[in-house]
């Protein structure tokens, strides 16, 4: 059996790569890509905890997986909203706002 820690470390690396991407990119779509990676890291954690950690209540032993499914749904909703905003900005012919974003500054 693979130790739980291995999954947590993979998730931590993935989260931090996403974090780096979100902070270091200056294009809105690329920042969104970094955020999606961070959400994937969260889901690895949730599913790994579902498999390994003793649930506090026996009726809620699927909490980790179900939460992961909610996170996936949310990621889809966020991507749709993000794309819609980017299209709206693109229509206003002002691509600068999509292509010159800096999460650490502003």
């Amino acid at each position: 059996m693979i130790p739980l820690q291995f999954y947590l470390i993979v998730a931590a690396i993935l989260f931090c790569l996403g974090l780096f991407g979100a902070l270091a990119r200056r294009n809105a779509v690329a920042i969104l890509m970094g955020i999606e990676l961070m959400l994937n890291a969260v889901n690895i954690n949730l599913v790994a905890f579902w498999r390994y950690v003793k649930p506090a209540a026996p009726t809620m032993d699927l909490a980790g997986q179900i939460f992961a499914l909610f996170v996936v749904t949310l990621a889809a909703a966020e991507a749709a909203i993000g794309l819609a905003l980017i299209i709206a900005i693109y229509r206003s012919r002002d691509t600068v706002n999509v292509e010159d974003v800096d999460l650490m500054k502003w």
Partner: protein
């Protein structure tokens, strides 16, 4: 027995490598279309990790929604804001060193706690009727969040149409 365990380890390491290399490409490549392809690679690796964890349903959802829907949306967005694919300008902002520092610091913290924490571990359990139980739980125990998330999708749908229509 020993070989199957060995194979699980191999699968885990290969899939993790795919997920992490894909993620690295996604956050560093200048050409954003290629970066998005790296993202898809990473999503596939993560789906594989779910299979190793025996969460098949989440793995399939990952493939359908992340690779099937979200990646396509992202590629669509990149191609809409054209000029990005070919532009010579750097896609990194001026703070990438600071960002790298923040990322590494975060990793150091998470790595430290991952290896020092004693987890309340249970015997890893396999549930034979996993998918029926997921379905049943979603409409019983998790009914309220399930309805909340459906309202969330409706709101996102309306919002996206409102803001993107002509």
């Amino acid at each position: 027995m020993l070989t199957s365990q060995f194979l699980t380890y191999v699968a885990f390491f290969v899939l993790s490598a795919i997920a992490l290399i894909g993620a690295f490409l996604a956050v560093t490549l200048r050409n954003l279309v290629r970066a998005a392809l790296g993202l898809i690679l990473s999503f596939m690796g993560v789906a594989g990790i779910y299979f190793v964890l025996e969460a098949e349903f989440v793995a399939i959802v990952q493939v359908i929604i992340y690779i099937g829907a979200i990646s396509v949306l992202i590629l669509f967005a990149i191609m809409l804001t054209r000029g990005l694919m070919t532009s010579a300008a750097s896609t990194q902002n001026s703070q990438w060193i600071g960002a790298a520092f923040v990322g590494m610091l975060m990793f150091a913290v998470l790595f430290f706690v991952a290896i020092t924490t004693n987890w309340p571990l249970a015997q890893p359990h396999t549930i034979s009727d996993l998918i029926p139980r997921l379905g049943a739980d979603l409409v019983t125990t998790y009914l309220l969040p399930f309805e909340a998330v459906s309202l969330l999708l409706l709101a996102a749908l309306i919002g996206a149409i409102v803001i993107a229509r002509e």
